[in-house]
Symmetry: C2
Amino acid sequence: MDKEYIIRPLSPSDFSKGFLDLLSKLTTVGSVSEPEFTRRFGEIFDIEKKNSSPPPYFIAVIEDKGRIIASGTLLIENKFIHGCGCVGHIEDVVVDETMRGHHLGQRIIQFLTGYARDAHCYKVILDCSEHNVGFYEKCGFSRKAVQMAQYFD
Amino acid sequence: MDKEYIIRPLSPSDFSKGFLDLLSKLTTVGSVSEPEFTRRFGEIFDIEKKNSSPPPYFIAVIEDKGRIIASGTLLIENKFIHGCGCVGHIEDVVVDETMRGHHLGQRIIQFLTGYARDAHCYKVILDCSEHNVGFYEKCGFSRKAVQMAQYFD
């Protein structure tokens, strides 16, 4: 049976546990110093403290042997539509490649989806490559629309 | 030549100028009273006041003859990736159907994209139907990924 991996919120001490190394498996991270990490952590979670219901961000991580091995972010958007409803945006889901096969990605998605439901979101959305559509369908998602992007120099 | 339409931020008095009627052309709005509108406005823009750079939401509207005829929202997400970069999410773009042909949608998109660039976002993203891909390509966007969604009861 699989080891029980605990999902917990990101903590400032995760800088030294390879959180950014893990994100660099997903995309460009660049050079982010510990003070820069701490400042951004404050910018994200000060928002959480200063606002009541629901907090706008939840960054879920799984730690194993002192290293962060999986992560995913939920951003909660307050809307006027759907009776002043909320939408959960799942972002930056990544699992350490040496830990594939333990269903950690699925656990992160289930956790964030449950968190969004508990926060009274009427839906949760995410963007993925065509290659990952099957994985997200297994997690209860359906193909909905086209993601468009514009990059700045 | 087209009349010059001014883009401005959403204001609490836009409740009585048909802002929710306009959104109901896009999707379900439901019954939202003026106190509910005002409370949600506060939840969204208190975030803006309490945080420094960049503010997380900008809701752009165009008013004509005392009515809101076009709107679009930019939500700015703080990330750790891309050197603690920011991403702009464009949401809930809608133009009154009687005002089609005045390029108001394009103006809203250009405004929000420029706002995201000025706020140092490294990209701006949005989800749209297959039918609207051509419109967003004309606005400088490219097809990027698949949007997946999970709805709660």
